[in-house]
Symmetry: C2
């Protein structure tokens, strides 16, 4: 947002933006790259990485700051939270407004200046949860690592 650099609207940049806006899957750089090559066979992975970073810095897209080993990106800049499937790592949006007041509960408990928060819900997506009704009792021991609230 405060980056003083002038951005040029190159073909690559525009297509990245378009393809990112087309999907709701919050793709990683690599996933997006695979998709992009259908339209721009010669685009390089480095370009994708560089642009996602630059565009996130400039506020054109959103970088998902939570969890996962790979970075994911979202063309929707407006505030919203995400749900992540603990089995297949699929990420979806959760509608609803930003939870205000969350940070008030924490301010004062810490000597940090609190500027924001990152919230992500964890669970099982429809596909994985119906699949598990058949199998049962394996995998998913990451469950432990997840904070259980109920």
């Amino acid at each position: 947002v405060s980056n003083p650099r002038r951005l040029k609207m190159t073909t690559q940049r525009q297509v990245i933006l378009e393809e990112l806006a087309k999907v709701t899957s919050h793709p990683t750089a690599g996933e997006l790259y695979d998709q992009l090559r259908k339209r721009l066979p010669h685009i390089s992975l480095g370009t994708v990485y560089r642009n996602l970073e630059i565009m996130a810095d400039s506020g054109m897209i959103q970088k998902l700051e939570t969890a996962g080993t790979q970075k994911r990106f979202d063309a929707v800049v407006a505030n919203h939270y995400h749900v992540r499937c603990m089995v297949c790592d699929r990420v979806d949006d959760v509608g609803g407004e930003t939870l205000r007041g969350l940070e008030e509960k924490i301010r004062g408990l810490s000597d940090y200046i609190i500027l924001g928060h990152r919230l992500e819900f964890v669970g099982m997506c429809p596909g994985c949860s119906s699949a598990r009704q058949l199998k049962n009792g394996n995998g998913v021991n990451q469950l432990v690592a997840v904070r259980e609230t109920d």
Copy 2:
């Protein structure tokens, strides 16, 4: 927690546990490795990675599931949230109880089975915020990526 494997208490494992409990810095595997070598000069990085993973699976330690490109670990298993400094990436605990009811607000807005949530606060640690009073106006453009609640 539900892992059926019998864990042996090796020297390496015990020292990892001890060193992790000593610090409040939520170290990465690499940071812990550097610390460990002071006591066990021949411990291997692979062993550190393997053990952190195993111990997190078995609930002995906690793996921080939020943000950052590197994984961080915490000897404190009890539920608590974290604050992360957006400038230096330092991570501290935030006291206070788990926020119950958070997930209720989201259930129904999604077709996922919601099992938990990950919440992390973002801000500036005391060190970085006092340093910035002197300088001013540079860095910190990741601010954009952070959801602002107020």
